[in-house]
């Protein structure tokens, strides 16, 4: 999650490789890079904001963004990867909106899923504790044992 206080700074080597990759993509296929950059803008923001070492939320958002962006990118590549096609694709607001919505949904899922799982786990633990307390009360009554200290 973004803004974690104990997040470790990212490594310099990795950042350098990423920068080189992006630069190469811009030189070799600038329209594709621009399209991908626009469509995956929320993932980039998430990457910038998240300070956690594992960057799980960024990975989820990026993966979801890629899942929605892969279609337009393949379409652009299939049609020559020109600037006109890039503008045409981006002009259709539904394409970037769908990509961004998918990434937002992914962020929301990454936030909600731990809460839901935690709820389920707590429910299981409470059920077991209730069963144990009931068993204890029965043993107390049957054997005259002292009640549990409050």
């Amino acid at each position: 999650m973004a803004g974690r206080a104990n997040a470790a700074p990212r490594g310099g080597g990795r950042m350098w490789l990423l920068g080189m990759g992006c630069g190469l993509l811009l030189v070799m296929a600038a329209p594709v890079a621009i399209l991908a950059g626009v469509l995956l803008l929320p993932a980039g923001i998430a990457w910038q904001m998240e300070r956690a070492q594992a960057a799980t939320m960024t990975r989820i958002v990026t993966t979801a963004g890629l899942a929605m962006a892969i279609g337009p990118i393949v379409h652009l590549w299939s049609n020559g990867a020109g600037w006109a096609m890039t503008v045409e694709i981006l002009s259709d607001i539904r394409t970037p909106a769908a990509c961004w919505a998918a990434q937002g949904g992914a962020w929301l899922a990454s936030e909600l899923a731990p809460l839901l799982v935690g709820l389920a786990l707590n429910l299981l633990a409470a059920t077991r504790a209730a069963r144990l307390r009931s068993l204890r009360k029965r043993l107390e009554a049957d054997w005259g044992l002292p009640p549990a200290a409050s």
């Binding site: 799980t56 939320m57 990975r59 989820i60 993966t63 979801a64 890629l66 899942a67 929605m68 892969i70 279609g71 990118i73 393949v74 379409h75 998918a102 992914a106 899922a109 990454s110 909600l112 899923a113 731990p114 809460l115 839901l116 799982v117 935690g118 709820l119 389920a120 786990l121 707590n122 633990a125 077991r128 504790a129 144990l132 307390r133 068993l135 204890r136 043993l139 107390e140 009554a141 049957d142 054997w143 005259g144 044992l145 549990a148």
Partner: protein, 664 residues
């Protein structure tokens, strides 16, 4: 019609039969035949014998158990002999203890309060002295003394017939004898405290009887008991009793020997059977030394050491004061001229200790005891004004009953081992060592803690035929342990106390039981385990006496036993046991009730299962603590699982979208 009751006694509509044969006809009293005790006619259901009497014992004066046991049911010729003894309804239906005896051959020679005509010398020798001496000799052969010889307890069929000695078994020895017929050292005692005595004491009583019949009246008439004793001590029994009477010389010589102060100087019965030999017997007895000046005491002037012993024994406060102040010492040295005796008294005075007030009183009492024994070695044990012979402690305790002052005094006497102190001062009259051992034993028995100890236990231990005086058994004659349960069962219909066994019954059981039951008796004093201890004692008795059912006692005990079921840990098992306890109680099966509560196998299983349950509860507590302490870890796990699930879902979507894009 006869029936057998639960304890095996044969019963008639009028009550149980004594010895399985004799029914007491309480509505047919026989005056003057009981030797001082009430006597009644008897119906012999087995042998149909006539000529039997039942002599009733007083409650506080139990019969002579050892003598009844020694004589058994074998009659002694010339004596009204016991044949059986046991409980039966007395006058008014009140249960009492009776001694069944052969009936005397005729009326008593004299009535208790009336004198008769004087007998001639030949009649005295042939009809009284010879047959009575022979009877005493026969009793002596059975190691028994009579201790109840006087004209009112001698019987004969017709004038000129030999006398028969009456009953002397239904009361403590000599307890019914007037002081006149007893030597001064027993006459001075409490009625119950005169002890079994010796053959010489019977000879003395026979001598006084001989004198009475020779002169045709009671000598020393008009004097009270203390005056009689004092007079005998002052001038000697013979001089006191005969006085100025003119007696046939043969009779006088015999009586003089029979009334000798020292019992060792009296002729034995075998010698009395030959009056000529008895007459010829001369024992040189030194007359009592008389002082030049009398010692003034409250009871009167004292002229010799024996009277001094009697005076300080009857008035111990003044006696102790005079002993402590040295007045007695000076009188003995200057007036009586007996410095050896004075030295012995001085030794007794040096033994006196005591710092506190209680110890002072005890030290004074011991000083008087020692001094009296030193002054008169023939005198009985004296303690705080009481005089008794050591072997009569049992009857004295029985006679004390609920008299708190007397009981306290006796308790102090036993606690101070006065018996040992007394014996140590008169070694010439008996080995002090056995008496010292007895004194130790009595004190240990009395000091036994709990309901089964103390003076109560001693009272029952020393009186084998004393009835239990528990308020629960009021109106019932419980003398033997075998009678206890049936009487308690009857009392259970209207219980007067929460539990059947009270302190009196506990002491009775402790004294009568063949086995040591002190452990269970000690538990009677513990509040929570008392009911269980009572059940244990009563169940053992029920088994011992083979009594089938005691539902009354079971119902009496049951409410107090419910808390005892708490020893069972399992509630379910406890409920089952309570049911079983109810069932055994309804059946009156005390051992069954005890088995329910104290089943060792089930108790072991219960304890084992209780431990398993306790371990289970501990495991539950640990698990609950673990669940509570894992909240943070669970949150972290939930976060990790949630994120991984979301990532996996996104990866699946990416894979599908990639496939779709490549294939389109």
């Amino acid at each position: 019609m006869q029936t057998q009751n639960e304890s095996g006694h044969t019963e008639t509509p009028n009550g149980p039969l004594i010895g399985g044969a004799f029914a007491v006809l309480a509505d047919r009293p026989l005056l003057g035949l009981g030797g001082g005790c009430p006597a009644f006619a008897v119906l012999d259901h087995r042998g149909g014998r006539n000529g039997l009497i039942a002599v009733q014992s007083r409650l506080e004066a139990p019969p002579r158990a050892a003598v009844l046991s020694a004589l058994g049911n074998i009659p002694v010729e010339g004596v009204v002999s016991p044949l059986a003894h046991g409980p039966a309804p007395g006058p008014g239906g009140v249960p009492a203890w009776f001694v069944i005896c052969s009936a005397p051959p005729g009326p008593p020679v004299w009535g208790e309060a009336a004198a008769g005509p004087a007998w001639r010398e030949a009649e005295l020798l042939n009809c009284l002295l010879r047959p009575a001496a022979a009877a005493l000799e026969r009793l002596h052969a059975r190691h028994v003394t009579h201790r109840n010889i006087r004209p009112a307890n001698l019987f004969r069929a017709t004038s000129g017939a030999p006398v028969t000695l009456g009953c002397g078994w239904a009361a403590p020895p000599a307890s019914l004898q007037p002081a006149l017929f007893e030597p001064p050292y027993t006459a001075t005692c409490l009625p119950n405290g005169r002890g079994e005595g010796s053959l010489a004491d019977d000879v003395y009583a026979l001598g006084v009887t001989l004198l009475c019949l020779a002169i045709g009246r009671l000598p020393m008439e008009g004097l009270d008991d203390d005056a009689i004793v004092r007079r005998k001590l002052e001038v000697g029994s013979f001089a006191a009793l005969v006085g100025e009477e003119r007696l046939p010389s043969g009779i006088a010589d015999i009586i003089r020997g029979m009334l000798a102060e020292d019992p060792d100087h009296r002729p034995p019965p075998v010698l009395l059977a030959d009056p000529a030999a008895a007459r010829a017997r001369r024992v040189a007895a030194r007359p009592a030394q008389r002082a030049q000046v009398a010692l003034d005491m409250d009871a009167g002037p004292v002229w010799n050491a024996r009277v001094l012993a009697h005076s300080i024994a009857t008035n111990p406060e003044q006696g102790a004061r005079l002993l402590r102040s040295g007045v007695v010492d000076r009188w003995l040295r200057r007036s009586l001229g007996d410095s050896a005796l004075a030295a012995r008294l001085d030794e007794a005075r040096r033994q006196r200790g005591g710092d506190t007030a209680a110890e002072e009183a005890r030290a004074d009492a011991l000083l008087v005891t020692r001094a009296a024994a030193a002054l008169d070695p023939l005198a009985p044990l004296c303690w705080q004004g009481m005089r008794l012979w050591p072997d009569a402690l049992g009857p004295v305790l029985a006679g004390a009953g609920n008299d708190e002052v007397r009981c306290h005094s006796l308790q102090e006497m036993i606690d101070a081992e006065a018996l040992a102190a007394w014996a140590a001062m008169r070694p010439e009259r008996g080995d002090p060592l056995p008496l010292r051992g007895e004194a130790h034993q009595l004190r240990a028995l009395m000091r036994a803690k709990g309901p089964g100890g103390g003076l109560r236990r001693l009272r029952y231990a020393l009186n084998p035929l004393l009835r239990c005086t528990s308020p629960s058994l009021e109106g019932r004659m419980v003398v033997r342990l075998a009678d206890l349960l049936t009487s308690l069962e009857a009392a259970a219909a209207n219980p007067s106390q929460p539990l059947p066994i009270d302190a009196e019954i506990a002491a009775f059981m402790a004294a009568r039981h063949e086995q040591r039951i002190d452990g269970d008796l000690a538990l009677l004093a513990t509040g929570d385990r008392a009911a269980l201890a009572q059940l244990r004692l009563l169940a053992a008795l029920q088994q011992r006496d083979r009594i089938v059912a005691l539902p009354g006692i079971a119902a009496w005990l049951k409410p107090q036993l419910i808390p005892a079921l708490a020893v069972w840990h399992s509630r379910q098992r406890r409920t089952v046991m309570q049911g079983a306890l109810e069932d055994a109680g309804k059946a009156g099966n005390l051992p069954g009730m005890l088995a329910v509560i104290e089943d060792p196998t089930q108790r072991e299983i219960d304890a084992r299962e209780a431990k398993v349950a306790a371990d289970g509860v501990a495991a539950i507590d640990a698990e609950l603590a673990r669940l509570l302490s894992q909240n943070a870890a669970r949150t972290e796990t939930a976060r990790r699982i949630g994120e991984e699930c979301a990532l996996a879902s996104a990866l699946c979507c990416l894979a599908v979208a990639t496939m779709a894009a490549v294939l389109s």
